[in-house]
């Protein structure tokens, strides 16, 4: 995956080279070099945590600007269900979807409907396949990327079913083409809470090409949507999904929809890593399903959302309550059909482990021993001033030739003290050159005379 396109980019002007992102990155993918953050493409899983923690707002997701939709004659928005939880005092899905449509789209289709169909496909797969357990959901792209990088032996546990947004995109494209619109005239845009999805619209999981033409950040359209909601008239009937589809927005929603009792729902990258460690140790073979989500609280905690995930969780419940009371007449008259959607991944997921210390095992062992020796010398307080997240990572960076021991201010201080002492020592041994009471000072007159 050398050509993997990442979802997070850095605004160099804004980055002040602090330690916020390097310390919080769950895969230690960021270093500060020459005063600016540098993200390692080989280690980044696109979780977007650095976007959230950066005080300077120097990290941003590589989403598209709204103007991209003008490139396509027929424009469709696919809102993630987490969008419904962004608005205060608003729980009517049709109002939200209409406001979104009025931003310039020809149609709006809920990702939540795709989620419901993915749930059905997953249920069927689980009942028919008794292979690797526990199965791990493929819905969170950051978790899938974490597995291919850090837990490649668990690739066989990944559920080989496409993500809801891909299912919805495929269904929409087919529907719009059935209206007589040529394939290339259709632009399908995911309204995303998620940074990682930006990469996956380019490098989809388990298929060659994504049906998504662009990813638009929820944050970017929030204000114009909110303005549109005030005074919105002629609310359209666009709602199709039921509550189980909308449930996917929060952690635990996907597995509760599957109605598998023996399932684990885990959110937050650090927690997901812990659970995957246990799977790798063979400790969780008695579990059927793992729903792992990189963001705290699930997708409602995504880096491109507006509302705090805990507040959003409550709003989502309110939206769902109102959905339950919706009459069939208020729903989309011609629901989108998923009849021809292929829910199975067509491409094998390949491992992409982080680079080895050395291709040769003996040399790699030698390097690791060297890392341990350097680490033993370091202060082990993980201050981050060297630009590496921990002293351990710093020792590895030195051995990999990406850092110098003097980048550590403590080591530098020791070295300066040592040199100063040496100088002092040496000065005591110097023979007397001029009068000891009058130190030598160059006289300008002498220099002038020389000229």
């Amino acid at each position: 995956m050398g050509d993997f396109v990442h979802s997070v980019e850095l605004d160099k002007e804004k980055c002040i080279g602090c330690t916020d992102c390097i310390k919080r990155c769950p895969t230690e993918a960021i270093r500060v070099r020459n005063g600016k953050a540098v993200i390692s493409g080989e280690k980044c899983i696109d979780c977007g945590l650095c976007i959230k923690v950066c005080r300077q707002r120097a990290k941003k997701a590589t989403t598209q600007n709204m103007s991209i939709i003008r490139r396509y004659p027929y424009k469709v928005a696919l809102p993630a269900p987490s969008l419904y939880a962004q608005f205060k005092n608003l729980s009517n899905v049709n109002v939200i979807l209409t406001a979104l449509k009025r931003l310039g789209f020809d149609d709006v289709c809920e990702v939540a409907s795709g989620a419901q169909m993915v749930t059905e496909a997953t249920k069927k797969y689980i009942s028919e396949n008794t292979g690797a357990r526990p199965l791990v959901s493929s819905a969170c792209p950051a978790v899938v990327r974490l597995i291919v990088m850090r837990f490649p032996s668990l690739i066989e546990n990944i559920l080989p079913i496409i993500a809801p947004v891909e299912a919805s995109a495929a269904a929409v494209r087919e529907y719009v083409m059935s209206l007589g619109v040529p394939r290339d005239d259709i632009g399908i845009f995911f309204i995303s809470p998620c940074a990682a999805k930006c990469s996956y619209a380019i490098n989809p999981i388990g298929s060659e090409r994504s049906d998504i033409d662009g990813v638009i950040s929820m944050q970017d359209i929030f204000m114009s949507m909110r303005n549109g909601i005030n005074g919105l008239t002629d609310v359209e009937k666009l709602a199709q999904s039921g509550v189980t589809g909308v449930d996917w927005a929060a952690a635990g929603g996907e597995s509760s929809g599957l109605a598998i009792e023996n399932a684990i729902a885990v959110d937050g990258v650090e927690n997901v890593i812990q659970v995957l460690e246990e799977v790798e140790n063979g400790q969780l073979q008695d579990v059927d399903y793992i729903e792992g989500l990189a963001c705290t609280g699930g997708c409602i905690g995504g880096p491109l959302t507006v509302t705090n995930s805990f507040v959003a969780r409550n709003r989502l419940r309110r939206v769902q309550r109102e959905m339950r009371g919706m009459s069939p007449e208020e729903r989309r008259p011609l629901p989108l059909s998923f009849k021809h959607v292929d829910f199975f991944m067509r491409k094998k997921i390949e491992p992409a482990p982080a680079p080895k210390l050395d291709e040769d095992m003996t040399a790699a062992i030698g390097k690791l021993e060297k890392i341990n020796r350097i680490y033993a010398e370091l202060p082990c307080i993980d201050c981050g001033s060297c630009g590496s997240p921990t002293c351990r990572a710093f020792a590895e960076d030195i051995v990999r030739g990406q850092a110098n021991i003097e980048d550590c201010i403590f080591m530098l201080r020791n070295r300066v003290r040592y040199l100063a002492e040496e100088m002092l020592d040496l000065s005591a041994k110097l023979p007397q050159t001029f009068s000891q009471s009058a130190p030598f000072v160059a006289q300008p007159a002498v220099r002038q005379a020389k000229r």
Binding site: F151, E280, G282, P351, K356, L357, M361, T362, I365, L368
Partner: protein
């Protein structure tokens, strides 16, 4: 290269730290994921056994370009009948331990299944030494 771990007994929450740490080292060395999984399972089971039955112990790991050799030593109660202990489902773990999800009687069988070489030496009242070798 040599690694040494002290495993403390009775701390179920921290049990498995040594195997996690070894796993990290092996990943850094670029050992293939299938082999890492085998080592992880075998070592984890052995480490848990030490915590459950023997109040902890010490682990020494030796890694070279051909194999990973793990030696786990404890001064616990020892295993009276090793052959019986190797039987799937056989367990002497207390109900308390079982309530924590351990003691299913799969520890030694799982070690045997995943190791290329397994040697269990035990003397009742003195302790147990487990040697695991997994080829790279």
């Amino acid at each position: 290269m040599r690694l040494h771990y002290d495993v403390s007994g009775g701390e179920f929450l921290r049990a498995g730290e040594a195997s996690s740490s070894l796993k990290k080292v092996l990943k850094q060395l670029g050992v293939s994921s299938d082999v890492i999984r085998k080592i992880a399972i075998a070592m984890y089971e052995a480490e848990i056994n030490m915590v459950i039955h023997a109040n902890g112990g010490v682990v020494d790991v030796d890694i070279d370009s051909e194999a990973v050799r793990i030696k786990l030593e404890d001064t616990g109660p020892g295993i009276p009948d090793i052959a019986l202990a190797m039987t799937e489902g056989y367990s002497t773990a207390s109900d308390e331990v079982r309530d924590l999800g351990f003691g299913a009687g799969m520890g030694l069988p799982n070690m045997k299944k995943n190791a290329d070489f397994l040697n269990v030496m035990s003397e009742v009242g003195k302790g147990t030494t487990v040697e695991i070798k997994v080829n790279l």
